[in-house]
């Protein structure tokens, strides 16, 4: 197809290749160092993408996130500390196998199955997104309202830990999104006379604060000392991988699909994908007793799922402008900055950019093999990076990055406040990801609701009578009452088996 060729030519531009290489190294570094998350890395990358053309900007995010999610597996195996939350599910198993002298095998599995997972996700993205875009053409403000509300509901349902706290975090994000002039009358809300706040809280400094600065606080408050790192012979990591691929081919398929699907769900990212895949893996395994004490099957499943999830999250983001995870929440901000409105129109008018993105997913995952090898080889140096120099450096990058968007120190102030907020929330068990989703989805919910009401002169029935609206409404209601169903179901069937996953911890 001609779009593939156009996409390839956009991708294989020397500037873009340079961006890919730098993003890859950045992603590997961030992923491999515990405490630096992929979302934070994305937030810090945005000030740079601000100055790039659309294709390298998007491609840098794709490459960085793929590498970061893989690289989080490295300290998980070598030091028993996950580099990113997405590796937490199988950290115990990875480390136990390392203690048994099988570090090379674990890392080989991490590389190979991350690549496979990523490719599965990329393939589904490439085929499903254009199909969904066709359906999206039929969406009006009513349907977008329900879709965004559904997204909010799913975010609460899958939030880690207490759903009550997840909901409150989400409401906080929604509230933050109301600051500024409103959509109907241009009336300033919660601005307290500040001119800078008329346009609302600037999204990028808020993200940098929530994810970057809060992490600096965390590190400064609970900083760990150096930890002993297992030695690894990088040359041996690919030994025995092909037989494992054959042995676990059904696992790969299941986890790849599961991971991508979870990615599509708004608010559910790579860490949740890994946990759910782990749970399914244990239930379907012939050796469930090994889980937690060194199951290679667990690592295969969860490692595949967390990488396939990444591409899945781009599907609702590109087609509807609804983020599949916190990284794509930030991505949507980038798309708007580049003048690319997510929605069926980019699929129609600029498909070559999208094809460049799909192809970059494939390229990034293939590059994971040589880059992963290099990362593993230099892992002990990377893990010894001194925190007390790294954290100040990250802080100054946060400050300058926040400044660079609008050239105002007010945004640095926003960054600081959001940093304190982010730290305070996480320290008290409130997840931060729903805040981001609230900030992004809030305007979508309100705008579409208000527009729907204004154009039909407040005819609320249309939310339930339009066919697609009605379906989305029913799904949303099902999501709200899902926990209730589970509770009733368990009362009716007292002999229900214990392994059920209904809440993610």
């Amino acid at each position: 197809m001609e779009f593939i060729v156009q996409g390839l030519s956009l991708l294989f531009d020397p500037k873009v290749i340079l961006v890919i290489i730098i993003s890859a190294i950045y992603g590997l570094f961030v992923g491999a160092i515990p405490g630096l998350t992929a979302t934070m890395a994305t937030a810090l990358l945005i000030p740079f993408t601000f100055f790039m053309d659309p294709v390298p900007a998007l491609v840098s995010i794709v490459t960085m996130e793929a590498m970061a999610i893989f690289a989080g597996d490295i300290p998980a195996a070598l030091v028993r500390i996950p580099g990113t939350p997405s590796s937490a599910a199988y950290t115990q198993d990875s480390f136990e196998l390392t203690k048994q002298g099988k570090a090379e095998m674990v890392l080989g599995v991490d590389v190979v199955f991350s690549v496979i997972g990523g490719l599965i996700g990329a393939f589904i993205l490439m085929t499903a997104a254009p199909l969904l875009a066709e359906i999206a053409f039929k969406f009006t403000t009513f349907e977008y309202f329900w879709l965004a509300t559904m997204g909010l509901s799913v975010t609460v349902m899958v939030s880690r830990g207490s759903q009550l706290k997840g909901a409150l975090s989400l409401f906080l994000g929604l509230f933050l999104s109301t600051i500024g002039v409103d959509i109907t009358l241009g009336f300033p809300r919660f601005t307290f006379g500040s001119v800078e706040l008329l346009n609302g809280i600037n999204f990028i400094p808020a993200m940098i604060g929530l994810f970057g600065v809060s992490e600096v606080f965390r590190s400064v408050m609970h900083g760990e000392l150096a930890y002993p790192i297992a030695k690894v012979q990088a040359g041996k990591i690919f030994k025995g991988m092909w037989p494992l691929c054959k042995r676990f081919k059904l696992n790969i398929l299941r986890s790849g699909l599961l991971g991508t699907f979870i990615g599509i769900l708004p608010g559910a990212g790579a860490d949740i994908a890994a946990w759910i895949a782990y749970a399914f893996s244990k239930r379907g395994s012939k050796e469930p007793e090994k889980y937690g004490s060194g199951s290679i099957e667990a690592i295969v499943d969860a490692g595949t799922a967390n990488n396939s999830c990444l591409a899945g999250a781009w599907i609702p983001a590109l087609v509807f402008g609804i983020p599949g995870d916190s990284i794509t929440a930030i991505l949507i901000g980038v798309l708007f900055m580049k003048g690319l409105r997510p929605g069926p129109l980019i699929f129609e008018r600029q498909p070559e950019i999208l094809y460049a993105v799909y192809l970059s997913f494939i390229l990034a995952n293939l590059l994971m093999i040589p880059f992963g090898y290099l990362a593993i080889k230099s892992s002990s140096q990377m893990l010894r990076a001194p925190r007390n120099i790294l954290m100040p450096a990250i802080l100054i990058f946060c400050i300058v990055g926040s400044f660079a968007i609008n050239n105002t120190v007010f945004d640095v102030g926003v960054m600081l406040v959001m940093g304190i907020l982010g730290y305070g929330l996480e320290a008290n068990g409130f997840p931060v990801a729903p805040v981001v989703l609230g900030i992004v989805l809030g305007p979508i919910v309100e705008k579409n609701f208000m527009m729907s009401m204004i154009k039909t002169d407040w005819d609320v029935t249309q939310f339930f009578t339009r066919p697609i609206s009605a379906i989305l409404c029913i799904v949303t209601l099902l999501i709200w009452f899902f926990p209730l169903f589970i509770a009733l179901f368990q009362k009716v069937k007292p002999s229900h088996p214990k392994g059920r996953v209904s809440k993610i911890e």
Binding site: P47, F48, F50, F51, L164, K165, A167, L168, F171, L174, F175, T178, D182, T184, L185, F187, R189, F190, V213, V216, F217, V220, M221, H222, G223, P386, R387, N388, I389, M391, P392, A393, L395, I396, F397, I399, V400, F403, A404, N407, V409, V412, G413, L416, I420, Y423, N428, G429, F430, G442, V445, E446, M450, M453, I454, W458
Partner: protein, 152 residues
């Protein structure tokens, strides 16, 4: 966690307070024609949700059993955090007047010294990082960094 239980009470209270605060603000917001809700609709719904869920949090916290697990945080480390807040606030106030290069280098230096980096390393890395960022943002990305009175 004993701390968690008390904190949840406070958190619940704060959210309820936020909800009530929102109501005080939206009181003065205009409506659309024919009395339909306008800018106040969404915030009011959120206010109700904050109050409701905040109450639920408090009620749930009453049932929590106090445990003793807590992440370790010495008073020194807590002071580190306040220090970071203070130094960034000072940066925001001073950077436009004093200039990017000097303010950033000083921020880095002070922070590293507080985190117990040796004097020599602090000086060298502060200067190097500042110059690197200046190169990257100002020269390559052409961001107009504030250069202050001295032009630095």
């Amino acid at each position: 966690m004993l701390r968690m239980k008390k904190n949840d009470f406070i958190a619940g209270g704060l959210f309820i307070a936020l909800g009530l605060f929102i109501f005080t603000q939206t009181f003065t917001y205009p409506s659309l024609e024919k009395g339909h809700p306008g800018p106040d609709l969404f915030p009011n719904i959120l206010a109700i949700l904050f109050i409701g869920f905040g109450l639920a949090l408090i009620l749930k916290a009453r049932k929590l059993l106090p445990k003793t697990e807590m992440p370790c945080s010495t008073p020194k480390k807590i002071s580190n955090a306040f220090f970071v807040v203070g130094i960034v606030a000072a940066y925001v106030i001073l950077v436009n007047r004093v200039g990017f290069l000097i303010t950033s280098a000083i921020l880095l230096f002070i922070l590293m010294k507080k985190l117990e980096v040796t004097l020599f390393k602090s000086v060298i890395t502060s200067v190097l990082i500042t110059l690197f960022i200046n190169l990257l943002f100002s020269k390559i990305l052409r961001v107009p960094l504030p250069y202050g009175i001295l032009g630095w």
